[in-house]
Structures are given as structure tokens and as C-alpha cells.
């Protein structure tokens, strides 16, 4: 009887070995991927679409490129691109071209998922330098930025006049932001809604002359006098009720609080335009550059790039596709279709002419700071966000020291 049980166990094990053998069908042969350099390609493109408008615009552009080049191009909008890409990369069948968010870029680059095709590519100089920096890992430019958005100050003009303020009160410095906010609060209006993440509060760090990490993304620079000054300033706004986090205003994000008319000002990016149009079409507002801090103007930029998989079979055709998608003309047509800012300097002037009200965003793109572009930082940054959520009652210096400690472990290892 025991012998039979052993035989059964052996059979089961053998079965699983056979299955594992089949499993090696998805074997790692990345280094020897056969390249089809010329001729028609069958490109798979995965995008993290902001909505139907973007999906359709990219699909149309891809179809146009496919006809002119004689290749096939299939655009798939992802539900959750991080997870879907993770699965595709693990199975060695990644899409040829996909969106890579600047905040996630270093993770992909450090594990060798991305082809550094943009290094030395003709015409990369026409892309904004700080965006190129966002997609540089170990001195190599990996991919071309698709578009960009920056943070600016939105002002609800109705509440502004209700609080008895004029254009002269529009804050251009931290001191003015405080005094103006105090005037608004005196009229029982919440002055400012600001998102409780590093992606909003970080702008104050840039204005104070600091940032979470060094420009090359190799060192944590949290605990500096500049950063402490910035966080103490934001903490002061929160403590005095001059600024509130969206959750305290019962909203999902600052744009919603602004759209509902709960606050006079907010700090959000280009996307707020489309969101307000769709959800709160009646609100009247104007956009200004963020107030300057002790070290001058500063804002944050957000961007995605057209990544090409290191394991793609059609790298050359993929590069041609990306170049077609990032031409000045194509970027302008994308910005018309779904309201993003071009990532090329030579397209930005035209963009500003077409969208004069976006001037503060365009201006911000010149001096903006990109997201933290170091690998393995996601949980460290999530921890930082947890700290920022409790900033009002917390200790800025301790918060920054904690970040430094965690980031050092992540960056060192």
C-alpha cells in the first residue's frame, strides 16, 4: 500500500516536472531575440489612456502610421498598466511599445525591460531638458517623452471677488500666498486645497531650493534646511486652516474640491482643465504660475514616455513609430484631441498660441522638476506620502529624516 502511495507521489511529481518542462516554453531568450530590422512589422502598443479621446487619437495616429509604413500596429488601452506590463514582462511577451510613467521609469530601466533607443537618436535635443532628465538612467536616455504637464495655481474668480480680492492680490510669493489666504479665510472661505502627496507638496521643496533626491537620483537629500523650511511653511498653512487636504474637504482630490466651489485656490496640473470641463462646466477660474519661494519659482512636471521593450522583435520599426508619434505636428494634434502639453520645445510655442490660457503651465515646463527617478523607491515614497498625510501634527524634520533613512536603504541596495 505504501509502495503504491509512493508510486502515485512519484507520478504526480513526474507530472509536475513535465508541466515545468512545458513551462520553459516561456524561457528567457532575451539576449538572442531575433531582430527583424526591415520590412513590415506587427507592433503591439499598450497605452495607459486617460480616456476615450486619448485612446481614439492614438489609435487613429497608429493606423495612419501603419498604412504609410506598411506595418501593422495594434493599440490596446490598459486597465492597470503596471500590473499588465508586469505580467507581460514576466512572461517574456511584452508589448513592443508602451507608456512608461516617469515615476515608474527607473524601475523598468533598472531591471533591463527597456531598450535605451533614445540615446543618441537624431533630434532628441528638441525635447525639454528636464523631461529628458526624467527618462535618463545611469547616464543613458531611454525613451522619448510623450507629453508633459506641470502644476500651477488655479483661482476661482467668483470666490476671489466675493472675498473682495482683485488681480493685485494674486500671490507671487510665499508671503503673499499667506496674507491672501488669510484674507480669504476671514471671509469664511477655505483658501487653498492641496493634494496630500509628494506630487503636490514637493513643489514647495523646489521653490525653497531643495528636493527629495539629488538630480541624478542617486542620493537621498531629504533632511536639508531648505526642505525643512518648505515643509514647515506648508505645515503652517495647514495648522492655520489656510490650506486643507482634499480628504478633509470630503473630496477625492483637490480638483474636485475646487470644482465644487469649496476652495478659492488649488494647485493642480493641466489635467484639471479637462476634469473641470467634464464635471463642473460652470466654474469660472483662472490659472497662474505657482508663487515663488525663497529660491525662486518652482513647480513639478509629470510625464510619460514611449518605452520600447528590450525584448521587442521589431525595435527599428518601433523607433520609427515612436518618432512618428512624437513629431511636433503629431504632438500638437494629440494636444488638440485630449489636452496635453507637447514635450518638444519647438511645439510649445505653437501650443501656447493655440491655448493662451495655458501660458502658466507652459512657463512652468521650463523650470519644472521631474518625479523621483530612482528604482525601488515606490514603497519608500508611499511611506513618505503616509508621513505627509500626517504633516499637520507631525515633525517636518523627523519626517525627512525617516525618508532619508528608508531611501538610503533602497538606493544603496
Amino acid at each position: 500500500m505504501t509502495r503504491l502511495r509512493h508510486a502515485a507521489l512519484a507520478a504526480a511529481l513526474a507530472g509536475s516536472l513535465v508541466a515545468a518542462g512545458c513551462g520553459s516554453g516561456f524561457d528567457d531568450n532575451g539576449s538572442t531575440t531575433t531582430q527583424q530590422s526591415a520590412g513590415p512589422a506587427d507592433l503591439k502598443i499598450m497605452i495607459a489612456s486617460s480616456g476615450d479621446a486619448e485612446t481614439k487619437a492614438v489609435q487613429d495616429a497608429a493606423a495612419q502610421w501603419a498604412t504609410s509604413s506598411g506595418s501593422k500596429a495594434t493599440v490596446t488601452p490598459a486597465q492597470d498598466i503596471v500590473q499588465q506590463l508586469g505580467q507581460a514582462l514576466a512572461g517574456s511577451t511584452p508589448p513592443d511599445v508602451f507608456y512608461v510613467d516617469a515615476a515608474r521609469f527607473a524601475d523598468y530601466a533598472s531591471v533591463g525591460a527597456l531598450e535605451p533607443y533614445a540615446q543618441g537618436l537624431d533630434g532628441v535635443d528638441s525635447f525639454l531638458p528636464n523631461l529628458r532628465q526624467s527618462f535618463t538612467y545611469q547616464d543613458k536616455l531611454y525613451c522619448l517623452p510623450k507629453d508633459t504637464s506641470t502644476l500651477a495655481l488655479q483661482i476661482n474668480t467668483d470666490l476671489w471677488t466675493k472675498a473682495g480680492l482683485t488681480d493685485a492680490d494674486i500671490p507671487t510669493s510665499w508671503e503673499q500666498l499667506r496674507t491672501t489666504a488669510a484674507k480669504i479665510k476671514a471671509k469664511n472661505i477655505t483658501p487653498l486645497a492641496i493634494g496630500d502627496t509628494r506630487d503636490r507638496v514637493g513643489a514647495f521643496l523646489v521653490q525653497a531650493g531643495g528636493y527629495w533626491v539629488s538630480p541624478d537620483g542617486k542620493q537621498a537629500t531629504g533632511d536639508t534646511a531648505q526642505n525643512v523650511e518648505a515643509l514647515t511653511y506648508v505645515q503652517g498653512l495647514l495648522k492655520d486652516g489656510l490650506a486643507k487636504y482634499p480628504k478633509a474637504l470630503d473630496t477625492g482630490w483637490a480638483g474636485e474640491a475646487f470644482g465644487k466651489g469649496k476652495v478659492a485656490m488649488t494647485i493642480e496640473g493641466n489635467w484639471i482643465k479637462g476634469a473641470l470641463n467634464a464635471d463642473f462646466p460652470d466654474i469660472k477660474y483662472t490659472v497662474k504660475e505657482l508663487p515663488a519661494g525663497p529660491k525662486g519659482k518652482g513647480t513639478l512636471s509629470f510625464t510619460q514616455c514611449w518605452g520600447i521593450a528590450a525584448k521587442s522583435q521589431f525595435k527599428q520599426q518601433a523607433v520609427a513609430f515612436v518618432q512618428a508619434m512624437t513629431s511636433a505636428e503629431q504632438q500638437l494634434s494629440f494636444s488638440k484631441a485630449f489636452g496635453v502639453m507637447p514635450s518638444r520645445q519647438d511645439a510649445q510655442a505653437t501650443y501656447q498660441q493655440q491655448n493662451p490660457s495655458d501660458a502658466p503651465f507652459v512657463a512652468g515646463a521650463q523650470y519644472a522638476q521631474g518625479p523621483v527617478n530612482a528604482p525601488k523607491m515606490d514603497s519608500v515614497l508611499a511611506d513618505l506620502d503616509a508621513g505627509l498625510q500626517g504633516l499637520q501634527g507631525g515633525d517636518p524634520k523627523a519626517l525627512l529624516q525617516r525618508f532619508d533613512k528608508n531611501a538610503k536603504t533602497a538606493l544603496g541596495g
Binding site: S16, D28, Q83, K311, S379, T409
Partner: protein
């Protein structure tokens, strides 16, 4: 072996072969693969079963317990959160399910069908849909806070207040609690209690799952012979005595099942966290299952992610065994 029934064994194996194959292929094999991944530093590129994947030994496990750092702190925070969650959910949902079952089993109750459906309804509704409805109810200006306001209570900011319940009542920690720490969290942090956000999730889960367990208790109650209760009545036992000494002992196997399923389900809580809070505010709703997902798919640290899920698996197995031992000793 070679009796008249000697040939039955191979035939038996033949009959169960499809089930063994399917379970082996889709359960046992993936579990073994995940176990292997938890011993490597696989970064999610290509197959984890090649020589080029660095072998980490037990590093991924020691990182969770002995190495000082964010990984251990996050893991211990998630264990703490989930422990409070289990401590509150399992007893309450078991007692509530039993109470509901006793109510709808009552022969005097009218409209039984209606109540059975009503109590069971939350269990058959999608947990994502319920989570979203609860998000609205627990909004700062939502229904719950409006009801609290009627009684003059200023409701909390449910999903943005990171303080634990215990911390809410004792503002200043005694120094001996903050000075000592265990696994990277101070005693004061361990004793924080569930945050108000976690309490909202606890309320949701109790509400949804007690219906399922009610059905189990109900089935068991209907198997209790009426004669037993009548005998108790004749002997002059009060209603409470009949419940305590006649019905509850009869329900012991079901209670064991309900508590076991409750323990397993609560340690694995994921979808409510994913939909409602993603671990926020300030990590007070982080659970091992969600942390495992985040570590693997956000940080590309598949090894640690898999290690977390195996530790979770061990916790569940050990607790179930302990619980079995406890209920058996009383027999």
C-alpha cells in the same frame, strides 16, 4: 493485497486522476513555483526558472523579521492591522451570524423568507459594489456622520484619520511603551488599535459575511431535533439554559467551521482594502495580502512579495491548528 478486490486500487487512482491532475497543475504546481520565487531575487523579467535568476536563499524571509528597515516595518504594521481586524471581525461575525440564525429559525417569526433573503443579501452582492457604497456612507459628510450628528456626536474623518482607536483615547503615551520596541515597531505602535478607517472596513465585512455564516448556522439548527428542546422545556430549563446547554453543544462542529473559515478569510482580506483605502491613511489599513501584491507588482520585488504570502499562509495554518486543538480539548 491480491484479494478479490485487489484491482480496485489502480481503478480508483484512474478515477481520481483528472481531479489530481487539475489540482496538481493549477494549485500544487503554482504554489511550488511561488515558493521557488520567494527564494530568489527575480525581478519579473523573463522566466524565474533559469540559471540567470539570482538565488537569495532565505534573505527574503529574514528581511521581514530580522533586518531593520522599511520592509520589516511595513510587514509588521500590516500584521498588526490585520490582527486587530481578525480580533474584531471573527468573534463579532460569529455571534451575529448565530443570533441571526436563531431569529430566522424561530417558529413564531412571520415572513421568514423575507428575513432570510434580507440577511443573506449582502453576501451575494459584489464586494466591490458594497465597498463603494460604504465609501459614500462613511464620507465626512456622509450618512454615518449625519446620523452621528443627530445625537450631537462630531463624527471622525473616517478615511483620513490615521490614529488608532486606543491612541484616540490616550493622547500621551507612557514612556515605557515608546522606549521598547518589537520587530521595529514600538509597543505603543503595536497597541494602537485599529484606525477609524479600519473600523469602517471591519463594519463592512461583518455586515457582508455574517449572512453567509448565518446560512450555515441555520442549516445546523434545523438538524437539532425538536425533542431535545422539548425535553429541556419539560425539565424546566430557561430559554438561556436551553441555548447554552442544549443548542450550542449541538452546533459545535458548525461553530468550528464558521470560526475556521472566518479566520482564513479575515487573514486574507484584500479586495475591500484594494477598493477602499489602498493601505491609507498612513498605512493603517495595510494588510499582508495587499502588501504582498504591492511589493511584487509595484516594486518588482517578486521574491519578497511571495515570501510575505508564504508567511501569511503559515500564520493561517498555525492559527487554524491552535484553534482545532482548543476546541478539541473541551470535548
Amino acid at each position: 493485497m491480491a484479494g478479490i478486490r485487489g484491482n480496485e486500487r489502480p481503478a480508483g487512482w484512474l478515477f481520481v486522476a483528472p481531479a489530481v491532475l487539475i489540482l496538481g497543475l493549477f494549485m500544487l504546481l503554482p504554489i511550488l513555483m511561488a515558493l521557488w520565487v520567494s527564494l530568489t531575487r527575480w525581478n519579473g523579467q523573463g522566466s524565474p526558472f533559469t540559471g540567470s535568476v539570482p538565488f537569495a536563499g532565505l534573505d527574503n524571509y529574514t528581511k521581514l523579521f530580522t533586518d531593520e528597515g522599511l520592509a520589516r516595518q511595513d510587514f509588521m504594521t500590516s500584521i498588526r492591522n490585520n490582527a486587530y481586524y481578525v480580533l474584531l471581525v471573527v468573534p463579532i461575525q460569529t455571534v451575529l451570524a448565530l443570533a441571526l440564525a436563531l431569529v430566522v429559525n424561530n417558529r413564531l417569526l412571520k415572513g421568514k423568507g423575507f428575513f432570510r433573503t434580507a440577511f443573506y443579501f449582502p453576501s451575494v452582492t459584489s464586494s466591490v459594489a458594497i465597498s463603494v457604497v460604504f465609501l459614500f456612507m462613511f464620507a465626512n459628510g456622509g450618512a454615518i456622520n449625519a446620523i452621528l450628528a443627530v445625537f450631537g456626536i462630531d463624527g471622525p474623518q473616517w478615511f483620513s484619520d490615521p490614529r488608532g482607536l486606543v491612541h484616540l483615547f490616550f493622547d500621551t503615551p507612557p514612556s515605557f511603551l515608546t522606549e521598547h520596541s518589537l520587530f521595529g515597531l514600538s509597543w505603543w505602535d503595536w497597541l494602537a488599535g485599529p484606525s477609524v478607517a479600519m473600523c469602517a472596513i471591519i463594519a463592512l465585512v461583518i455586515w457582508t459575511t455574517s449572512g453567509t455564516f448565518m446560512v450555515m448556522f441555520l442549516a445546523a439548527l434545523q438538524n437539532v431535533p425538536v425533542q431535545l428542546e422539548e425535553a429541556g422545556l419539560i425539565d424546566g430549563a430557561s430559554a438561556w439554559q436551553r441555548l447554552r446547554h442544549i443548542i450550542l453543544p449541538q452546533l459545535r462542529p458548525t461553530t468550528f467551521l464558521v470560526v475556521t473559515l472566518g479566520l482564513i478569510g479575515t487573514w486574507q482580506v484584500f479586495d475591500q482594502i484594494y477598493v477602499m483605502s489602498q493601505g491609507n491613511p498612513a498605512k493603517t489599513t495595510l494588510t499582508p495580502a495587499f502588501l504582498s501584491y504591492r511589493t511584487a507588482f509595484r516594486d518588482f520585488d517578486y521574491g519578497t512579495g511571495a515570501a510575505i504570502s508564504f508567511v501569511l499562509f503559515l500564520i493561517i495554518v498555525v492559527l487554524t491548528l491552535v484553534q482545532r486543538r482548543l476546541t478539541r480539548e473541551r470535548n
